[in-house]
């Protein structure tokens, strides 16, 4: 620790004004402040400050994602061994999954942080911590079979076009991780949808897929036939195919608890999204009889609360809709924003003929609408103040 401090102090002059590597100061600063919370003290305004900073905020969110990540790793392995008809131990399944997932995480972080550092050096800014969370979110919302280069391209697109062109963390309109997923979804649809991508089915010599194997997700089955072979309990616990981090509602709820207790994410958005989804699901339940096809009737008819267990709904609501930069910023606005995210997610899921899931598009759509919601909320406050003068 002392050694590290001394090392940092020795090389620091190179990066400071007039030093040889002056341009690379943001990179040096990122590493220095990563190792040490700086000794800066308050020189104007309040003399005492909350111990929290953006690094702590981001690391708390990552901690909240860990249950979903670990479960996802195990599930990748478990589904793989099930598909090839092998009885595997918990550790084997987890090991296999980790072997598949860790490269995705590595690619996401290397690509994203590389761009962040480059942008910071170009602009002479400090490196912002926002990507620590985005970098973990991106692999968790991809199918495990996604080729690494596609992850890299999607990440690069999202960070450059989705964030840096707007001015970096805090300035973006759309959630960055979802931008990456949306890019991948439209650029590489074959790798992002259908029945083949959700389970890793690479077989070594001597292995073969079991008879009657289907790689469809629960939502895929429902859109296709109106029913699913996965029980609600399977979906709640997460023993179903899907993007890496999205399958276990339970693991996501543990993350939600961490976010809500720590006060980092807005419980209002989560709660109102659940209400929104329940309302839409309820409406579908009532009107299932008017569906245009028997499959749709089946899909619309499942108990409204089951809708929240399948697909990416829970993951999206807990980790993506609550992104404070792209969500509504006023407290009242958060209620409206969350409600509509849930409402549209279920609506799009059932009515989208091409892809039976709606949380990604619902959140991205509401990201765009959030400033408008805030505008009307703030406008209401302004009107109230004006009324007071006239009264």
């Amino acid at each position: 620790m002392k050694l590290l401090r001394n090392f940092l102090d020795t090389i620091k002059p190179n990066f400071e004004k007039g030093g040889k590597l002056e341009k690379f100061y943001p990179a040096y600063d990122a590493f220095e402040t990563f190792a040490f919370v700086p000794g800066h003290t308050a020189h104007s305004g309040a003399h005492i400050r909350d111990a929290i900073d953006l690094k702590r905020t981001m690391v708390t969110v990552i901690l909240a994602m860990v249950p979903a990540l670990l479960f996802g790793m195990w599930n990748v392995g478990a589904l793989h061994y099930k598909a090839i008809g092998v009885d595997a131990s918990l550790l084997d399944a987890f090991g296999y999954g980790a072997f598949k997932v860790i490269p995705l995480i590595a690619v996401s972080y290397i690509t994203g942080l590389g761009i962040e550092f480059a942008a910071a050096i170009m602009r002479g800014h400090q490196v912002n911590e926002g990507y620590l969370v985005t970098g973990m979110l991106i692999p968790l919302i991809m199918p495990v079979t996604m080729p690494l280069w596609m992850v890299a391209v999607s990440t690069a697109f999202a960070v450059i076009i989705g964030k840096e062109v707007f001015g970096g963390t805090g300035m973006n309109i759309l959630n960055v991780a979802l931008t990456a997923r949306a890019f991948a979804f439209f650029a590489y649809p074959k790798n992002m949808s259908g029945d083949k991508v959700w389970i890793d089915t690479t077989t070594k010599s001597g292995e073969s897929l079991v008879d009657g194997y289907s790689g469809a997700t629960a939502l895929g089955e429902m859109a296709g036939s109106g029913s699913t072979s996965f029980s609600a309990m399977d979906a709640f616990l997460g023993f179903i195919p899907g993007s890496i981090g999205e399958t276990s509602t339970l693991a996501i709820l543990i993350g939600a608890a961490i976010l809500i207790i720590s006060g980092i994410a807005s419980w209002k958005i989560m709660a109102s999204a659940i209400v929104g989804a329940a309302v839409m699901g309820g409406i579908f339940n009532i009107f299932a009889g008017y569906a245009i096809s028997p499959e749709q009737q089946g899909f619309m008819g499942i108990p409204f609360w089951h809708q929240m267990l399948y697909g990416g709904f829970a993951f999206g609501v807990v980790f993506m809709a609550t992104d404070p930069v792209s969500a509504a910023q006023t407290e009242r606005g958060k209620w409206i924003y969350g409600f509509l995210v849930g409402f549209f997610a279920i609506m799009i899921r059932i009515f989208n003929p091409a892809y039976p899931e709606g949380i990604m598009l619902a959140i991205l759509f509401m990201n765009v609408m959030a400033p408008l919601i805030d505008h009307y909320v703030v406008e209401g406050n302004i009107k109230r103040r004006l009324k007071r003068v006239n009264a």
Partner: protein, 450 residues
């Protein structure tokens, strides 16, 4: 009056080192300083030069914009130094005090028998006038204005603040005289806010000529700005004045004794004070004698005022004009290894991202460290949770950053001054300089909107 106005938003930080309700004396300081920077919007012009002999109550400098606003010496003695900064800006005027203080005689009088002009005149010439703060903008009151009403907060909620119930004990008569004088200045009411719970000094409960309001809740419930917002909010065009109870006493003594007695019972508090207590200190006093042998060996951050809004001063610095306490906390300028990852049981945070929330009763020692670097806004809703106004704080701050005066006006800049935003600044994850930003906004609005 009987209803308690409950403030829900806000937070109390339980800091170590609260002052015991005991007043001790200390060796009287010999050097005093007047700093124009203690006042917003004052362009100073000197009335004395180095070497002049002055009495307590004699003008030292005055405002270029209104020469009736004078700043008088708190003691008698010799002007030893006029400290100047860049562009010859006056930083401080230092006065070496006599052993025995000689006062300018302003003639004692019963303010209730004087006219408004006579009261105004006495307050202006004696140098008591700058004790009155005007809103909007948080500036020294304008003698040409007639305020809609005058607000006094007799409720402290800031951590380590001097207890306003204690400091008025024995000064009841002076407090009432001060109220009588202020009553002449406004056509409206004098609103006096007291705590809804616990002891309330009889100086307040028995005060005549005031409307009492009871407030209860966490900081900033004791801030006069919050109280104004909940009693009678400031609208465009309104002017209200505010003054602290300690300063009402100074005004009361001016009328009772005919002297500018610039003394307050001041709390010396904070985790680095060995035995936090009260001391009678004259405005502008050098702190060297006060702090002598009273601090722990930790590198100190000395604050004239409270930890949210006070001025950082050196160990041989001077007490600011409006300060009611001197707080001493650790400086905390050491880098902390992986500080953002550790569990942080002893770290205060409004969020529960550190594990200190497991022990809510804990008394904290908090240093002046920023605990992180400044960033763009990411987190939302933090300010709202500690800002008990019907105002969108983050939106207002952003409108100030953009210099959008119309938006600032619409979003309620008239109702706030920087101290109302102090807690927002404390809890800010992005470490934005909120109070400085608000001050800039107020100055811009003052200039453009008048």
């Amino acid at each position: 009056m009987s209803d308690i106005i409950k403030i829900k938003k806000g937070t109390d930080i339980n800091l170590k080192g609260k002052a015991q309700r005991v007043t001790e004396s200390f060796e009287a300081p010999s050097l005093y300083a007047l700093k124009p920077s203690n006042f917003n919007g004052i362009r100073p012009k000197l009335a004395v030069k180095e070497g002049d002999e002055v009495k307590a109550g004699q003008p030292i400098y005055f405002s270029k914009d209104d020469e009736r606003i004078v700043f008088t010496s708190p003691v008698s003695g010799e002007v030893t130094e006029v400290e100047r900064g860049e562009k010859r800006k006056i930083l401080a005027i230092k006065i070496l005090a006599d052993k025995e203080i000689k006062y300018v005689d302003f003639k004692s009088a019963d303010p209730s028998k004087l006219s408004r002009e006579e009261v105004l005149e006495k307050l202006l010439t004696s140098g008591c006038w700058p004790l009155i703060v005007q809103r909007p903008y948080g500036i020294v009151a304008d003698p040409n204005a007639t305020p809609k009403s005058i607000f006094i907060s007799a409720y402290n909620t800031a951590p380590l603040a001097a207890d306003v119930q204690y400091v008025v004990a024995g000064e009841e008569a002076a407090f009432q005289t001060g109220i009588d004088a202020l009553a002449k200045l406004t056509a409206g009411k004098i609103h006096l806010s007291i705590p809804g719970k616990g002891d309330v000094a009889k100086a307040y409960t028995q005060a005549k000529g005031v409307v009492l309001h009871k407030f209860d809740g966490p900081h900033p419930a004791g801030n006069v700005g919050v109280q104004i917002h909940h009693i009678d909010p400031i609208n465009k065009g309104d002017i209200v004045w505010t003054i602290a109870p300690q300063d009402v006493i100074i005004i009361g003594k001016l009328f009772a004794e005919g002297k500018f007695i610039a003394k307050r019972k001041v709390a010396l508090a904070g985790s680095e004070v060995k035995a936090p207590k009260y001391y009678e200190i004259t405005i502008g006093a050098q702190l060297t004698n006060l702090l002598k042998e009273k601090l722990t060996p930790v590198k100190p951050r000395i604050i004239s005022g409270n930890v949210y809004t006070g001025d950082q001063v050196a160990a041989d610095g001077f007490m600011s004009f409006l300060s009611k306490e001197i707080c001493v906390i650790p400086e905390g300028d050491e880098p902390e290894f992986l500080g953002w990852i550790l569990p942080g049981f002893g770290k205060w945070s409004l969020s529960r991202a550190y594990f200190s929330w497991l022990s809510p009763k804990k008394e904290y020692v908090i240093n002046a460290n920023m605990h992180g670097e400044e960033r763009a806004y990411v987190v939302t809703g933090e300010y709202d949770s500690v800002f008990p106004f019907d105002i969108y704080p983050q939106q207002l701050i952003k409108s100030i950053m953009m210099g959008d005066i119309e938006k600032m006006e619409q979003l309620g800049i008239y109702e706030v001054i920087e101290e109302d935003f102090a807690l927002c600044e404390v809890v800010c994850t992005s470490k934005i300089a909120v109070q400085d930003t608000v001050r800039k906004g107020l100055e811009l609005a003052h200039k453009e909107l008048g």
